[in-house]
């Protein structure tokens, strides 16, 4: 709950420390307070997404959000198609990429099999592979994040 007391303390903190903006989010409630150039904070307090407006629908089992954790500064490599994910070119080969590995733009990161065709999936960006989000043989959908890269 964001109540008056919370807002009060926030404003005090802002004045004390000469902050210009504070965003606070708590269980769907939001407060934004700004102190502009002239030192005037403005508080925006938004309650949970108003009523029958499009709410966040609980994603069905396989319909995962494309980008699970966008806020960490990581960039996803999404699947360009529906199909089955393979981490390596053949069952006994080494995987295309591992966590911690540095990849170049255009480097193949996995294979997606769709209708008996094995498609090499290339990363559009370069960076360090921080996470591999799918496991070998798993079905993936269009736009689903496969691996997360720190550019």
């Amino acid at each position: 709950m964001i109540d008056l007391k919370t807002i009060k303390s926030l404003i005090k903190m802002m004045v004390d420390h000469d902050l210009t903006e504070v965003d606070l989010e708590d269980q769907g409630e939001k407060v934004r307070i700004r102190r502009g150039g002239g030192g005037q904070p403005v508080a925006h307090h938004a309650a949970p997404p108003v009523a029958p407006a499009p709410v966040a629908v609980p994603a069905p089992s396989s319909a995962q959000p494309a980008v699970p954790e966008a806020d960490e500064g990581l960039v996803p490599v999404p699947s360009p198609m529906v199909g089955t994910y393979y981490a390596s070119p053949s069952p006994d080969a080494a995987p295309f990429v591992k966590v911690g590995q540095t990849i170049e733009p255009g480097q193949v990161v996995c294979i997606i099999e769709a209708m008996k065709v094995f498609n090499e999936i290339k990363s559009e960006i370069g960076g360090v592979v921080e996470k591999i989000l799918v496991s070998n043989g798993q079905g993936v959908e269009f736009g689903q994040a496969l691996i997360m890269v720190r550019p």
Partner: protein, 448 residues
């Protein structure tokens, strides 16, 4: 019976199929484009798989993506709904070659009846009434002119692969036949990738009467009586009803039996619709066959008490039809109004956007099939139909009254819809007296 099926469609028909499957204890897998992430079919299905970006060509028409989704989800069958891939025999073929049942007719029957030229040939052989015209496709201009002079102007040029009025021209004389021929072929080539056309007598002041047929894989073919879809705007149906208010028992029997003959000749199974024009002479002329479930199937469901989608699924699973022709009767009168997100006051311009207020009609005699809810954003990428309102009452007069009452209860804001047009039609004296033809809305109601 299947344990799990995939629905290769979106919108109200995807919701309709999920409802049927759920009542049969069958798990459902929805596929969706990124534009439909929050759509009702996506959240109603047991599983949902994103298959591509908003453009239909990259999602709902993307055969590899849909087959891949079906394989990933391990389904036993795919229901194509209507539109998109529903009449694509190539898709049906791929499904079956991947050992996934296609919930629809055989590939052979789809090809035979889906192509208007070959359909016409089968009809002629089976004494199904067709309008006078070319036996098969037009090979050259001279042949077209010869046929036109034989049967007399006006004549109709039609694309073999056509539908929805595309690749269609009316010719009043040799000159307009020549120009119409080349423009129809070019349009057909562009729309369907096939420039084949044929020529037939133009039926003026016609009504649109179609027969719902249903077959199983053991060769049984039944009809579920007719629907009257004469109220159209630019070949797009606005109002459908069953029974037709202008058929007597004898002509009803005649047209229904013709449809069954045609379906039998093609070895047809699953749901299909044989569309006829009825001329001022009360004669029927075969127009085309739709080898799939129809948008307006609910009016048939209301008067027969049958569930066409469940029947399709059972037949696809190899079960025989469990009813006989005698057991199928028409009870009462049903009317369907298609509600589109279009602005009738502004040349039917599409009116996509987020629906803020969405209040449905209810009470006795009212059925609503829709995928919309308050907060739903109608995407600009697809068909503009947002709901089907179906009413069922003992008589046509009462059905019209209930439709008026139900239309007045619909509250949709802020997008524009065709509700006001449907209300105008219900009030129209000629419609109420069934004194209409397929161009009535454009010609007599001043709606172009």
């Amino acid at each position: 019976m299947f344990n799990r099926i995939l629905i290769a469609n979106r919108g109200e028909i995807a919701v309709r199929i999920i409802r049927a499957a759920r009542e049969m204890g069958i798990e459902t897998v929805a596929v969706y484009s990124t534009a439909d992430r929050d759509s009702l079919h996506t959240r109603m299905a047991d599983h949902a798989i994103c298959i591509g970006p908003p453009a239909a060509s990259e999602s709902y028409l993307n055969i590899p993506a849909i087959i891949s989704a079906a394989e990933v989800a391990n389904v036993q069958a795919i229901h194509p709904g209507y539109g998109f891939l529903a009449e694509n025999s190539h898709f049906a073929d791929i499904c079956r070659s991947c050992n996934i049942e296609f919930i629809g007719p055989s590939v052979d029957a789809m090809r035979k009846l889906g192509d208007k030229v070959s359909c016409r040939e089968i009809a002629l052989a089976g004494k199904v009434p067709t309008s006078p015209g070319s036996k098969g496709k037009i090979e050259n201009e001279e042949q077209a002119l010869k046929i036109a002079r034989e049967i007399g102007y006006p004549v109709m040029i039609k694309a073999a692969a056509g539908g929805g009025g595309r690749g269609m021209r009316i010719a009043q004389n040799d000159i307009s036949l020549r120009s119409g021929l080349s423009s129809a072929m070019a349009e057909a080539k562009g729309a369907f990738g096939d420039s084949t056309v044929y020529v037939e007598k133009y039926i003026s002041n016609a009504r649109h009467i179609e027969v719902q047929i249903f077959g199983d894989q053991e060769g049984n073919v039944l009809h579920l009586f007719e629907r009257d879809c004469t109220m159209q705007r630019r070949h797009q149906k606005l109002i459908e009803e069953s029974p037709s208010p202008v058929l007597d028992d004898e002509s009803r029997k005649r047209v229904c039996q013709s449809a069954v003959r045609l379906a039998r000749a093609a070895g047809y199974f699953s749901a299909g619709t044989v569309e006829f024009l009825m001329g001022e002479d009360k004669q029927f002329y075969l127009m085309e066959v739709n080898t799939r479930l129809q948008v307006e199937h609910p009016v048939t469901e209301m008067v027969t008490g049958l569930d066409l989608v469940k029947m399709q699924i059972r037949v696809a699973a190899g079960l025989p039809l469990d009813i006989t022709q005698k057991q199928i009767t028409q009870r009462g009168h049903a009317i369907e109004a298609r509600i589109n997100a279009e602005d009738p006051a502004n040349r039917f311009a599409p009116s996509p956007g987020t629906i803020q207020r969405w209040e449905l009609p209810g009470g006795p005699g009212v059925r609503v099939d829709t995928h919309c809810t308050a907060g739903y954003r109608v995407p600009p990428n697809y068909d503009s139909m947002i709901a089907k309102l179906i009413v069922h009452q003992p008589t046509r007069e009462e059905a019209i009254t209930t439709m008026q009452r139900a239309l007045s209860e619909f509250r949709i804001e802020p997008i524009k819809t065709t509700v006001p047009l449907q209300q105008d039609i219900m009030r129209n004296a000629d419609f109420r007296q069934s004194n209409v033809h397929i161009h009535f809305v454009e010609k007599n109601m001043g709606i172009g």
